[in-house]
């Protein structure tokens, strides 16, 4: 959690200063969800993530140096500078990519779980998405397929109360858990600000998936402390009333966990993370930009050569 927080705070500054061109969708405030869930996964387990994906990708084990280099758009980045914030992926760690389309990862994770079963591998797939994604048809289609075939998928809905500016109560009919339960999945709602609560629920879900009792649905009630996107701060939009943010900040998942740990552990984690993030920033800043002549590299895995846009 400390790594995600520190990493994101640095990214946020860099986005506001224009150093990171595309800006970011900050995950700050929601760290307990990514960490609680990913702490229960093995390396070969698969995750699909969202536009707000930094937390998931880091929690699944991505190298913060290469992750920041990716946000910088350099060749040392996880995706060699081709993906950036919204597509960060490390397939060797089962990270099938953050995804810029709301809900798009749910059927992809379901497919990974199905493939694992076909290949006889004991893998679990986790799909993270926001409350807004519950209104996407493709997510419900994924629920149906996963439940129909009892696939080892954990659907993790991070209910942070808003889909951009739309409060969940004005976007979602009914209740997320009951909606998921309607597909025949085991579904729980947990306090997404408490990493231990999330980890406990995730452990039960992952274990159930490994025993063939999947899929599971986990609603994590959480909150983002910043705006939807760094751009929002730059243009000064606000749609949250009064002291709502402050009330949630009182339940900061990092503080909650810090208070449970011995002071010396906290201090050493803080120091270690500060150094890690400094290193990442230095690494990203010094890693090379791709050659513009290579802009179409990786477009195809096979032997197709795309023609250029201008032929002289």
């Amino acid at each position: 959690m400390r790594l995600i927080r520190e990493f994101e705070e640095r990214c946020f500054e860099m986005a506001l200063s224009g150093e990171l061109v595309g800006g970011i969708h900050p995950y700050i405030g929601q760290e307990a969800v990514a960490v609680g869930v990913c702490s229960q996964l093995d390396v070969q387990d698969v995750i699909t993530s969202t536009h707000r994906g930094h937390g998931h990708v880091l929690a699944k084990g991505a190298d913060p140096k290469r992750m920041l280099a990716e946000l910088y758009g350099t060749t040392e980045g996880l995706n060699r500078g081709r993906g950036g914030s919204m597509h960060a992926a490390d397939v060797s760690l089962g990270i099938f990519g953050a995804n810029g389309i709301v809900g798009a990862g749910a059927p992809i994770a379901t497919g990974a779980a199905w493939a694992a079963r076909r290949a006889g591998r004991e893998q679990v797939a986790v799909s993270f998405f926001g409350d807004g994604a519950l209104s996407q048809g493709v997510v419900l289609e994924a629920f149906n397929l996963a439940a129909l075939w009892s696939l080892p998928v954990v659907f993790v809905c991070e209910n942070n109360g808003y889909a951009t500016s739309l409060p969940v109560g004005r976007g979602l009919a009914g209740d997320p858990v009951r909606r998921a339960a309607g597909f025949g999945m085991t579904a729980w709602s947990v306090d997404g600000m408490d990493v231990e609560t999330v980890a406990e629920a995730a452990a039960a879900a992952v274990d159930g998936c490994r025993r063939g009792a999947g899929p599971y649905f986990l609603e994590c009630k959480t909150y983002r402390f910043h705006g939807h996107h760094s751009f929002e701060q730059q243009v000064g939009i606000d749609y949250r009333e009064g002291d709502e943010v402050a009330r949630w900040q009182d339940r900061d998942p990092l503080t909650l966990q810090r208070d449970r740990l011995p002071a010396d552990v906290v201090a050493s984690v803080d120091a270690e993370i500060a150094a890690l993030v400094e290193d990442a920033v230095a690494f990203a800043r010094s890693s090379p930009a791709p050659d513009p002549g290579d802009a179409l590299e990786y477009l195809y895995a096979g032997p197709i050569a795309a023609r250029p846009g201008s032929v002289l």
């Binding site: 699909t48 990519g97 990786y298 895995a301």
Partner: protein, 320 residues
């Protein structure tokens, strides 16, 4: 060799590939029964785990195939009607197609989208008569528009073609046909056109089920004009070298393409020819009208499809 039915060739290609590669599986609606004919008997041969009947959730199972492919499978997704591709455009154009580049080459998505019964079939009206391969060429998603059964496997099999997603459009008008097959049944190399008939005066580029029409017109006009008929076979990538050689010989070009005219494949071939080839006359294309919606009544349906009469007229026009 006895005549081989087009549909049998599609079926046999799929069957062979399933036998060869355990990772190949078929996902689609009514595929166990084999409603479209292509997958008939495959569930009995390979089991329901590999020939999987899907609920009616095209977006869900199209991206399920993407995830499965990223995790090592080689799914073939069959769509019952071509317009379902509009429903899954996000999942193909914006997800499957983009993963290779977006991840910096970490993954590819070797899924085959099989579209049997593409294009107009009699009396199926507005929502069942489209033939949207140009749309997929536009986004770079490698559509094949198959015509000849001497080349069944190459169209969809990752081994022969490409590890990337591929859409195979099998035109309705060919589904019920059969033809003598000569030579080896083998894969079509990616982006390799076939010259069906040699000629010296006009190059006619015809796609899919329009190849027989072009050959018919070429035969009818044989005393008057010598037509070379070229079938690109894969509509993305296009075999520009073969097209260029043909036009270098004839200097004249007509494209016959069952796409809508605006931004269709025909337009692209004409544009490339204008940029790069030494044409001696303005080229022509025969296509559906801009943004066509195919009407129900048969006479109206046929009125909007590229026809032999239009091709004849276009050939005469480029000769002027």
């Amino acid at each position: 060799m006895a005549p081989l039915a087009y549909i049998t060739a599609l079926h046999q290609a799929l069957r062979d590939e399933m036998a060869r590669d355990e990772r190949v599986c078929v996902l689609g609606e009514d595929v166990r029964l084999g409603l479209t004919g292509i997958t008939q008997g495959l569930a009995q041969a390979y089991g329901p785990e590999r020939v999987v009947d899907m609920p009616l959730s095209e977006q869900g199972f199209t991206s399920l195939a993407t995830g499965a492919a990223m995790a090592g499978q080689r799914p073939v997704v069959e769509f019952q009607i071509p317009s379902l591709l509009y429903l899954v455009f996000e999942q193909i154009a914006n997800q499957a197609h983009k993963f290779s580049l977006m991840t910096g080459g970490q993954v590819s998505v070797p899924v085959t989208y099989l579209v049997p019964g593409s294009g107009s079939r009699s009396g199926m009206a507005g929502q069942h008569s489209d033939h949207p391969y140009s749309l997929f060429a536009h986004v770079g998603s490698r559509p094949w528009c198959r015509r000849r059964r001497r080349t069944p496997t190459g169209c969809w099999c990752p081994r022969c073609a490409t590890p990337d997603p591929v859409a195979v459009f099998a035109p309705t008008m060919l589904m019920g046909t059969a033809e003598e097959v000569t030579g080896e049944l083998g894969p079509v190399p990616l982006g390799s056109a076939r010259v069906h008939r040699e000629g010296t005066d006009v190059t006619v580029v015809a796609v899919g089920h329009l190849v027989p029409t072009a050959l018919q017109v070429a035969a009818e006009l044989a005393g008057e004009v010598s037509i070379e008929v070229v079938d690109p076979r894969t509509v993305y990538p296009v075999d520009w070298a073969t097209l260029g050689e043909s036009v270098a010989k004839t200097g004249r070009l007509v494209v016959m393409d069952d796409s809508n005219r605006m931004c269709g494949l025909g337009g692209e071939i004409l544009a490339t020819a204008a940029e790069e080839y030494a044409l001696v006359a303005p080229p022509k294309r025969v296509s559906r009208p801009d943004g066509a919606v195919i009407p129900y009544a048969l006479a109206l349906d046929h009125a909007l499809l590229p026809s032999a009469a239009q091709l004849t007229e276009a050939v005469r026009a480029v000769l002027k």
